[in-house]
Structure formats: structure tokens, C-alpha cells
Point group: C2
Chain length 387, copies 2
């Protein structure tokens, strides 16, 4: 008998496809349009260095001791002020990923149905596979989730990315937000609103959040990863106090609390106005890069490849004619020196082979054109072979 | 129908007793001998401030970007060197608590039997209650777990704290270590060796770890919380590569990775020799405080109260005659201005009312005597009432 007799859920945590892709995409000479990471040149390194000193000067050992599971008071207060809620409605988490895990832990029984967009963020699927969720997909179009396609049958929770969705980049319009909330409210469906990219708009700020429309039924996930730096691992969940309490109990068993020092540093950055400056600075940089990427796609992509210009965020989603398989094509692309994320990675129940995700933020500017050219050539050959 | 329909496991996460105790114990004027936290005056604040600068100067945005789930390379290398294993056998976690959670996640199916000491660390119970573990308790005496009492029937994993156990402070002797490993090996029982206090010895270093005796069957949990600072939330699991891989998959779904900046800071402290200096400094301080506490107990405790002088760690465990209920007594103690942790908190399956845990490290030195006096008076009254 083996000493290591794994639990049933462990088999569901493996994702060999993604791991294989990551490994392949890191080959020397490959231009990666596959990343889901922010542009490192936006990180406020010197401000963080100063914040790290000020936090210790102000808090002393208080920034280094065990601290409340819910989060450090000044950081909770800042988040609450920005989101227009009470501090007691805020739970600081180790990135949004932990928020997804804790929500799964607290709400999902084996086999519970979770509504997700098609396509959706793979990290949420990874988090909830642990709790043996079943996925009910709702189709999306250029404007995100299609409310008319929301199911009649009961689901336990609905997971929505209204702002510059990952992977499609779509922005859910005002009317659809109202429709989603009306659908959920009518059925008492808990809504999880994941918003890592809301501050990264290129022209106008997004419409009001789902949470502001139905505070009693929506849990809102925010993060500092895309605005300050992901290596700080700081995100938050906002919801009714009752739910924040349950999530905090779950967090206590998971890791006691998020790093106190990092929270104190972020509180210093918040006080110094660094976070708002970062938002403005990052969205301007990403706007320029998106513009450039869209011009390059226009210039190089073969006929039959379609995309919707994003109005914010980090990604553009390419759709190819049916029959093109971006998963099968991936190795050829890497041989041609370019990497992307194949559509199936974002499909809760399989499919989406004829789509792929590109980032425009983390690819070095000098490589973007060459990357798009290489990808265009690979797709052109695939389309020709198919014809 | 409520929007918030919690999962079955959520009810198991609540621990109203502990919360109630914590709240009571924080009353103004109460001397807390209840803490499980290190002495804040040991935290190397200026070294951390320097490390925080050096980490950014050396790593730049690399200390702030998404980073490998397994941990930053230089920190893994340091831990591996100290523990005499390969870096691939190390997973950096957000404190030992996350190690416990990940182990539960990867190994425990509903109803699996976990062997724990009686008494044992409550945080492990909190972590594994989430996965609906059942507990099989093994008795302990002055030298820790009693090998002769290890069960014949099968358990999924065995959780052992060999060094200056929490809550008893006991140190498992050489021969018992061999016996535990032989028992586990014979039955293919996975052993989880939790070692937060091993560096905090007062005279000699503890005997070799269980892991060094059976690397193929023991997962070792270490932490920087008691030596550097708990607010950094940095711990680690050491085990066979196969298991580290499974735990890393689980961690990816839980929080992607532990804070990169904190890892980079710890790597700087390691390189500068700060960690070893902290070990020496902290054990000397705690040795003095333990000595003082033991003298005070000798001087003030009424007959019938017994304890075993600890040879390291942070705690001393008091046993009272049967019939004294430390849980029922807690409110009276708080009224008398002193707090402790009642025995039942450490009992996986209930009981242990006639015991309590005291810390000697986090109580201000000026308050230690008065705290012990107050507690002695409360216990004396309880013993008199019982007689």
C-alpha cells in the first residue's frame, strides 16, 4: 500500500494542458502573447520601497505580528471608502484567487451548479474544481454575457466578469447588468462579480457594478495585482457582513491572515495617493498598447480571423472559422516563435477550439509586431490547409 | 429562499468557544497568559527594513511580479540547505497553517481518520475539519506521544509535534521517534511532522526529525513565524517531489503563490545570516522567560496543580485535579484579571477540562508575576470549592 493515498479531489486539480503550454511557451526565442500578467514596468518600485520603510516606522512590530484575519484596519478602511461600503464588509485576501477559493469553500457542496460565462477565467474553474462544482455555461457575444440565454433552472451561484472580461475583453453594458441582477434576484442566485480590470478602462469608466445594484446578493472581488503589483498577493472580497464573517472563518483555517507587512505597505501607498496615480498611469499605457495591437491585427491577420476591440483590460480574443483547432496549432506556433492561450483553456465544459487569447500588455513593445506577424502566418497556413 | 446557502462544511468552520475566549481575554486590565504569539521584541525590524530595500534593489520588478507557485528559488535553496534536502522537495507556503490546509486538501476524503496527539494544536483541527476528518487520539505523557498507545487500526495520516509540543511543551525522545516511525512505516501511514518550535530549545537541540528517519513517508512543516516574524506569513512543507507537486497544484488553485516580496526579503535575511542570529537570540530570551515562569509557578501555584518544565518552545501545560473545569473557570479568571487557554480547545474529541495552557513569551515581563498570582488565586479558590 502506498503511503500517499490522495483524496478524490486531488485528481481534479491537475491541469496538464496548461502546464504543457506554459512550458512550451517559455522556449527561447518565443514571443509570448500568452501572458496573463501585468506589465512589470508599471510597478511602482520606488514608492513600494518607501512604503516598506514608512510602514515599519509607523507600525513597528505591528506590521510583523499575527494580525486580524479580516485584514489590517487602515487597508480595510481604504478599500471600503473606494467601494462605498462599510469596513466590516471587506475581507482582505491573498489575491483574488484566494477570494475564489474561499467562496467555493464556503458555498459549494459536491455537484453544485455554477453559472459561468463561455468563455470564462480559468482560475475560477481551477478554484471550484476542488469543491467538485458542475458548470452551466451561458453564451457571450461582443457585449459579454447574453442575458436572454440565462437558464431557467436553478444554479447555486453565478460567476460574472462584467469589466473587460478575461479572456474576451468585453464590457457588459448597463442594460445587461440590470438584466443579470434581475435574473439572479428573482431566483435567489448568489452572484460573484470578479473585477480585476475595472480600473483599466481606455475611454470611459465602466457602468456601476453589479454589487451596487444588489448589495444583498452580490460578492465583489477586487485586487491590487493589476494596479500595484501581483507579487504583493493582495485582493479583497466585499459582501454582506454575514458572508464576510463566514469567509473569514474559512480564511482562518486556510492561512490565518494575509501578509501583515504587505497590507501595511499598501495602506501607506493608499495614503500617499500612489494607488490612484497607478490606475491613471497603467490605463494610459495599456490604452496605447491596445491601440497598437489592434492596428497590427488589422494589418496582418488573414481574412476569417475576427476580434472585438476591447475598451479596457489586458486581452483581445481572436475567433477563427470553425474547424481551426488552436490547441492542435499551438506547437506549430511555438515552432514559429509565438505563443498564445488556446480557447479551450477558458471553456468550462470543453470546446472553443477555434479561438485564442492574446495579451497586449506584457509583450515587450519591440516584439509586438513580430509576434503578431508570426501568429498571422501560422493562422494563414492553418486556414489555407483547411480550405 | 436565502441567497446565501452555505456548504455543509461551513458549519464545521465555526469555533464559537475560541472566539468568545479571545474576546473576553482582550478586556482591559486582563494579563494574558493565553497568547500563542511570539514576543514582538524579538522581531528584527531594522534587518527587515534593510532586507526590504535590498530585495527591491536586487530583484527589481521580479520581487513584485507573479512568481512560481513552489516558491522563489533562493528561498527554496536556503530552506533545502538548512534541512538537508533538494530544493525540489520544498514548497513555500503562507505560514504553516496553509501547509496544514493543503495537506488536508490533497489527502483527506470525507471521514478519513487522522491520528492526533491528546492534546494537540487546535489550528490543525481547524484546517482538517474543513475536509471532514475524524480524529483518533493517542495519549501523551511528560515525554509526548506514547508509542505503546498507537492504534492497531488504520488511519490515513498521523499528525505529530515532536519538538516542544503545542500545547504541552513536551519533547519526544529519540527512542519514541523511532517507535512512531516504525509504527507508521509498517502501516504505510503518512506522517505530518509539525515543527514550529524546534529552533527554540533551551539546552540541547532536539533529536533528529521524524522526516530524516523516513523521508519517503513524512511531510515536514516548518515556519519563519516564530524565528523572524509571523506577519510575513512564510512557512514551508518538505516532502517527496511527487507530493510537493500535488501540494503545489492545490496551492495554485488556493492563492497562486505566496507573497513574492516577503520571500525575497527572507532570502536577503538568510543571506545576511539574520535567521541564524534570530534563532540564537530568541531561544536565549525564551529560556530566561521560561525559567522565570517556572519559578513563579513553583512559588504561587496551590498543591494539586502540576506541570512538566518545558525544554523549549513557548508554552507550559498545567494539569489540575479531575473535576476542575478550566472552561467554566475562564470567565472568573478574566474577572480576576488573567487569561489562559482552557484545555478543551486542544482536545480533538472533547474533554481535557482539567488542564490549561500558559505562554511565557508574549506576556510583558513586568506583568508575569502578577498574572501568575492572579491565576493561582483563581485555581486555589476552585480547588477549595471542589474539596
Amino acid at each position: 500500500m502506498s503511503v500517499f493515498r490522495y483524496a478524490g479531489r486531488t485528481a481534479r486539480m491537475e491541469n496538464p494542458i496548461i502546464r504543457q503550454l506554459l512550458k512550451l511557451g517559455q522556449r527561447e526565442g518565443v514571443i509570448s502573447l500568452a501572458g496573463g500578467i501585468p506589465a512589470a514596468e508599471t510597478f511602482p518600485i520606488s514608492e513600494i520601497a518607501e512604503g516598506a520603510q514608512r510602514a515599519l516606522a509607523r507600525w513597528g512590530s505591528g506590521a510583523l505580528q499575527y494580525s486580524p484575519t479580516e485584514g489590517l484596519a487602515p487597508l480595510r478602511a481604504y478599500i471600503a471608502r473606494r467601494r462605498g461600503v462599510a469596513p466590516e464588509q471587506v475581507l482582505v485576501t491573498s489575491g483574488s484567487q484566494q477570494g475564489l477559493d474561499l467562496i467555493g469553500r464556503v458555498f459549494l457542496d459536491e455537484g453544485d451548479a455554477v453559472l459561468v460565462e463561455r468563455p470564462t477565467y480559468m482560475g475560477a474553474l481551477q478554484a471550484w474544481n476542488v469543491y467538485d462544482a458542475r458548470y452551466r455555461e451561458v453564451p457571450t457575444d461582443a457585449e459579454g454575457l447574453v442575458p436572454e440565454a440565462l437558464p431557467e433552472d436553478q444554479v447555486k451561484l453565478a460567476y460574472v466578469l462584467p469589466n473587460f472580461q478575461n479572456p474576451t475583453g468585453s464590457l457588459l453594458p448597463e442594460a445587461r447588468r440590470g438584466a443579470v441582477v434581475a435574473w439572479a434576484r428573482e431566483r435567489s442566485v448568489l452572484v460573484v462579480e470578479d473585477d480585476p480590470y475595472g480600473h483599466l478602462y481606455f475611454d470611459a469608466a465602466p457602468p456601476a457594478s453589479l454589487q451596487s445594484r444588489w448589495p444583498e446578493g452580490v460578492l465583489y472581488l477586487g485586487t491590487f495585482s493589476k494596479i500595484v503589483a501581483p507579487g504583493l498577493r493582495m485582493g479583497y472580497v466585499i459582501g454582506p457582513e454575514e458572508v464576510i464573517h463566514a469567509l473569514a472563518q474559512a480564511k482562518q483555517a486556510a492561512d490565518l491572515h494575509s501578509q501583515a507587512y504587505g497590507q501595511a505597505i499598501l495602506a501607506e501607498l493608499a495614503e500617499a495617493g500612489v494607488i490612484e496615480r497607478q490606475e491613471a498611469r497603467t490605463r494610459e499605457l495599456y490604452r496605447q498598447r491596445a491601440e497598437r495591437m489592434l492596428k497590427l491585427l488589422e494589418a496582418h491577420m488573414p481574412a476569417g480571423v475576427r476580434w472585438v476591440p476591447p475598451h479596457g483590460g489586458m486581452f483581445v480574443w481572436l475567433t477563427l472559422p470553425e474547424g481551426v483547432d488552436t490547441l492542435a496549432l499551438f506547437e506549430r506556433a511555438v515552432e514559429a516563435g509565438v505563443a498564445y492561450v488556446p480557447g479551450p483553456v477558458f471553456a468550462a465544459n470543453g470546446g472553443l477550439e477555434n479561438a485564442l487569447r492574446l495579451t497586449f500588455v506584457s509583450v515587450p513593445e519591440a516584439q509586438m509586431e513580430e509576434g503578431v506577424r508570426r501568429l498571422a502566418a501560422v493562422l494563414e497556413a492553418a486556414l489555407a490547409a483547411r480550405a
